[in-house]
Point group: C2
Chain length 211, copies 2
């Protein structure tokens, strides 16, 4: 009997070691960071455009997470030349849909975030155009954060297509200093498409072009 | 003695329960997804530009993870109008540094990835310019993946600054159809700056501008 108990004790101890080694309990900071890192890589690799949504709404907390993720993007000389318009009002989403090339997505969506460049905050001279890169980085952050929250999203471009810029600007009453880069359409996913595998080794050179 | 063993056994069993309950062992898929999602949000919020690096090299496996993350970005009409040049050769990094506005970073770096728009793969007409947004999204993915791998990185712009484009193009022998958007400078961090808090509620409107 005593031997049995000791055997159980040893088995439990081994399970405990296994549990702590493989699941992160009592992990060192480095191990925690590594696991979080893998979760991040997985999130990047599994994000894909979602264009069909259920009618479930998206809460204010989630909207703030998305907006914070957008504003966490890097910007040239830290100018942060952007403004974000979060749209949950169904009538306003319909108004955006009316001017959209894919209206049914905006009609279904619980949320749209229009990412705008703010020309009052851009750099001078040729650097003014960095707002496009800055706002694109913010958009990618929002898409990834949406995926992280279990939401589905798709980037629909406005800039540099004049008629789309005009249509979005009119619907949202944008001043002329705000240029809509894109409308991110967001909702709870009603489809689960496979992420595209876009890895192409021929799109890489090493140390100089063609090598 | 026997009672002692049973007490130890109970204590171990409780520790085992605690370990599996709090760390994700035997978690449901939903819980795993939620935790991974939070890890992703944390990664987005804690990424910041790293400009000083140790002399530790970066392995080929990590370089491929970064490049795969870049190519996982969304692109307009799935054109994937890009080419990536990964530079680890010290002489080539020195050559890039010579034309850079912040040469010391490239001299220290283990790796640079130059993200280029490929004008042979862009859309027609005004849509050609989408390569800037597509390559910016790829750049942000690479920055986040670098952070996820415990590396430090910083986005240094080339496009649309003519002299920087010319300098990078010459060093990497780029054909005229490849336009370098930026050089991502990457290494093992030798500094740990606090991430900037860029959250500004005044940068958000709800449903239309100014509301």
């Amino acid at each position: 009997m005593k031997k049995n108990i000791i055997n159980h004790l040893q088995a439990l101890a081994l399970m405990l070691v296994a549990a702590t080694a493989t699941t992160g309990c009592n992990k060192s900071d480095n191990e925690t960071t590594e696991n979080n890192g893998q979760a991040m890589i997985d999130c990047i690799m599994t994000r894909t455009s979602i264009r069909a949504y259920t009618d479930q709404p998206i809460g204010a907390d989630s909207i703030e997470v998305l907006l914070r993720a957008g504003m966490a993007a890097p910007t040239a000389v830290n100018a942060q030349p952007w403004h974000f318009i979060a749209i949950t009002d169904k009538a306003k989403l319909e108004e955006l849909a009316a001017g959209s090339f894919q209206p049914q997505m905006l009609q279904q969506a619980a949320l749209a975030i229009v990412v705008c460049g703010d020309l009052t905050k851009t750099l001078e001279g040729v650097g003014q155009q960095f707002w496009i890169q800055d706002c694109s980085a913010a958009t990618e952050n929002i898409l990834l954060a949406a995926h992280a929250l279990g939401l589905g999203a798709v980037w629909t471009a406005a800039y540099p297509i004049e008629e789309r810029i005009a249509s979005v600007s009119e619907a949202l009453h944008l001043p002329s200093t705000l240029i809509p880069l894109c409308t991110i359409v967001i909702g709870h996913p009603a489809e689960q498409p496979e992420p595209k595998d876009k890895w192409k080794p021929e799109n890489v050179s090493y140390n100089e072009y063609g090598k």
